[in-house]
Symmetry: C2
Subunit: 540 residues, 2 copies
């Protein structure tokens, strides 16, 4: 028997956009423009301009399902695109301005973007891309105050062609609203297409008290770029609950961010660990100097947050909330909140818990599965792959690429290797492609590397799998020594021995001048494995 | 273009039941049994027993869509029914134990309940119903410790026939999960059928920080009965977030409730104003005696909360949260939270705002529409009917009854008369059937009654519409005077004059010995209108 509720009322952005205009029209959106001045306006103006953008897009020929790309920093005009594009039924496709022109061109062509909206400060980047792509209209936000070059369309003039009284088309909750490409370290970027439904459900999940906890009393500053999984969807929650927003524009240096925290009394910010590492140095160097909102919280994701960072922020009365997610999970999957029964544990244990990836939020199901397909026990030791499913997890990539990322029973394979600690806290230990599979057991490359880098003579270390006729794979450590220092394989093996099971210890140590790196400075393990693909034990 | 997320992942109770078992198995559910002893167990046991109940129901022949009724106070076994019934695909139908045997029989027959689960302390009520109904199995929870009479099935023995390893059937999110009947003061009760989807979305809406704000750190005690719109769906949120629950059983007197607040350190409770009126008297009489949780909040709904109650609780450091809803709205529609920009207003104004019905929660759309179909301005004066729509608002009644409650464009007509105050706060002023329509303008019977009862000689007053050839309707006040006191119509009119527009003042005052009442003690305006239906001005 069916229920008799309004189950056909669609979960779309239209409802939250109408809500913010009706009840929070006077709440503010503050943007640091490229010239460092602050632009301020209200949700009321935001609403009218989003409607004008939608209307202008429709008049210019945009149809439901079309892709409209953005190439922008965090700003009010980017927020207008966040809503103005999807309320026409079209798909907002955010472009990562840190990608190479080649990758950008590939993504724009792959997504078949019809229009692109960009900030004029990003024109130098765009000009390296434009000859490789074929978009119909290029709309430029004139942030610098200079006239927009004649070959492009001025965003403000484009808006002026639209009506404030935009009437919404019929949008199904399963229609696509937004699109992001993964920044996979291997292979081509793959497109993830978010439905209105998934974004709205995710907004509920994100705003819950035990997740991030977001209220109309908050002032939200996403430092995470709006082209990075929709700024973790903070903009949608802001509109849903009517929270003031602060947009840092292109200025992500510690001093600029801290200045906005103070001036606008930010209560909640979000970004990757690197951002917070810079800020905590600034705070430690200037104790008591900054007057922040008393309830300032920082959401950290995108990479594991070191426990030391959490401790250092605590000393300043600032709470770090560690969360985990991926482009394919909208992104929120888990949040590291201590359960009430663990409040009585030691301070050290509590910091350990806060540095795990935490517990899945309601409606995200997570399981950690070993090589034989068994769910691992909650012992904090047994390795497995983290797999997730739920209403805001990707079901497939755009154009059906890489179907191997889903299990036969419909779970998304994160390719993260994890253990489950007592209490259910998930802790990531490696990537599946980097873990060493030795005789059916898994060895974490990351844990060995972290331990090796604790040795005084080691500057850098990377651990990879090499072929072994008996165990299939065995660990090899590539080590860069600090200048003027020495260490032998036996010394390093002895150094590691107390921390690991004997069979975890690397069989081989190779000393190198430097390790291969990716364009973003990460160790390029793919290249490293390539270097050692014909490794023979007798080499050592 | 469709999104490519897991949009077919259904929003059902199964996901939250699995979640609580996986991450919060050791959190407690505490119940005051009819013999006043406390029963304690964990979500882990609750999960196993819910599965056994589901399995036993299926073995006994319950099929998806079947209705299984409950006749119970708030208790752990009622919570087992809340989940054990719907996870089979069947519909849990809660029966209001305060109804007359005749109404209960009507509802059971109308819903075509196949089984009924009840507490043995309610057998005396059930025995007055049983000859008027035709249910297949009567399952009795043996709370009193006495053996269950042979003609019924012992709940514990019934559970023993089920397996712990219940495997879920495929349930669509639009399938019905629960059923409640309205307790309409006019006409027959009407059935509302909640889908899994509507209950799960409502749980998100209820748990948001700006709604009620519910966390795994909370200890939740629903005083509102589980047969009253699913205890406002607090049990579902408790399971979703893993919050400890406290069930008061049949003891709703102030001393028993306050005792549980203290013993179990309740942080969030919910109930109708009458409950809190009794408790605040007890607290005022015993200042400083009780040691409550420091963050105790009380959700008040079901009827408007007097501002004085909010003020009195504040003096004890206890926050009253006023919320509005109906059986047809699952129930949460609006919550009276002060917006940040109104924090600077006077204390009096802030209390006024907290005593309004407040702002709609995300995804509930509300509009107040006057007699001509226009949305009223935010002036705090213009009357209109409150209408709502959204994913947890009823789309129709069971068996298609009373279709007139929905507008042509799909909004639910609450039959509440409201004004909208500046800032969007909704304030209810009357019921549509009680408001007096005088020459196209509306007069609130409730406001006139409240003012009249402020006169020292007036014990009770009710204001109704009587026919008027010129204005269609004009107000008549039926007044009961306090013993030994007198007042004339002119005196009362003069008393009201400073508070109201002149055309609001009742044309007629009739002094009566007593006012007709309903079974629950409310003034029976239907009867009163019947008494004065042939009213002629010359009577006065």
């Amino acid at each position: 028997m069916k229920g008799l509720m309004m189950d056909d009322y669609p979960l779309t952005m239209i409802t939250i956009l109408e809500r913010v205009a009706k009840y929070f029209a006077n709440h503010e959106i503050v943007t640091r423009r490229p010239d460092r001045t602050l632009h301020r306006y209200t949700y009321g103006e935001f609403y009218r301009r989003s409607h004008k953008l939608a209307s202008a897009l429709v008049k210019a020929g945009i149809k439901p399902g079309d892709r409209v790309a953005t190439l922008m920093w965090n700003s009010y005009s980017h927020l207008e695109a966040y809503f103005g594009i999807p309320i026409t039924g079209a798909v907002m496709h955010t472009l990562n301005l840190r990608l190479s022109p080649q990758d950008l061109a590939y993504i724009i062509n792959h997504a078949e973007d019809r229009f692109i909206i960009l900030e004029d400060v990003l024109l130098p980047l765009f000009e390296q891309v434009k000859n490789q792509i074929n978009v119909e209209k290029v709309i430029v936000v004139p942030f610098s105050g200079k006239p927009v070059p004649g070959e492009y369309i001025d965003y403000e003039q484009f808006l002026a062609t639209g009506d404030e009284s935009f009437s919404y088309p019929k949008i199904a909750e399963t229609d696509a609203a937004a699109m992001c490409y993964t920044s996979g370290t291997t292979g081509r970027p793959k497109g993830v297409l978010y439905s209105h439904r998934s974004l709205m459900l995710h907004s509920f999940g994100l705003a819950l008290p035990d997740s991030i906890g977001i209220s109309m009393y908050d002032t939200l500053m996403p430092v995470v770029p709006m082209f990075h999984v929709n700024a973790w969807c903070i903009p949608y929650v802001a509109v849903m609950v009517g929270a003031k927003m602060v947009m840092p524009g292109p200025y992500l240096d510690p001093a600029s961010l801290v200045d906005l925290f103070e001036k606008e009394q930010v209560t909640l910010s979000a970004g990757v660990p690197t951002i917070w590492a810079g800020i905590i140095d600034l705070l430690d160097q200037n104790p008591g100097k900054f007057k922040f909102a008393p309830n300032l919280r920082l959401v950290v994701g995108g990479a594991a947050v070191p426990e030391a960072i959490i401790r250092r922020f605590d000393k300043h009365g600032i709470t770090v909330i560690h969360a985990w997610g991926m482009t394919e999970t909208t992104p929120l999957g888990t949040v590291a909140r201590i359960k009430p029964e663990h409040l009585t544990e030691s301070e050290d244990r509590k910091y350990q818990i806060r540095a795990t990836q935490g517990l899945p939020v309601p409606f995200v199901e997570a399981r950690v599965v070993d090589g034989e397909g068994n769910v691992v026990p909650e012992d904090g030791k047994t390795f497995g792959e983290l797999q997730v499913r739920g209403p805001w997890i990707a079901a497939q990539y755009y154009k059906g690429e890489n179907t191997g990322k889903w299990t036969e029973d419909g779970w998304f394979r994160t390719e993260d290797v994890a253990v489950v600690e007592p209490g259910g806290y998930i802790r990531l230990v490696d990537r599946t492609k980097d873990v060493i599979k030795s005789g059916g057991e898994w060895i974490s490359s990351v844990q060995l590397e972290n331990a090796l880098m604790g040795h005084p003579a080691v500057k850098e270390a990377a651990v990879i799998a090499v072929y072994d006729p008996k165990w299939q794979e065995r660990p090899l450590a590539a080590v860069v020594l600090r200048e003027g220092m020495t260490a032998t394989p036996d010394e390093l093996r002895e150094f590691l021995a107390p921390k690991f099971a004997k069979w975890w210890l690397p069989d081989y140590f190779v000393f190198v001048e430097q390790l291969p790196k990716t364009s973003t400075g990460k160790i390029a393990k793919v290249q490293l494995r390539e270097m050692f693909k014909d490794w023979k034990p007798e080499n050592n």
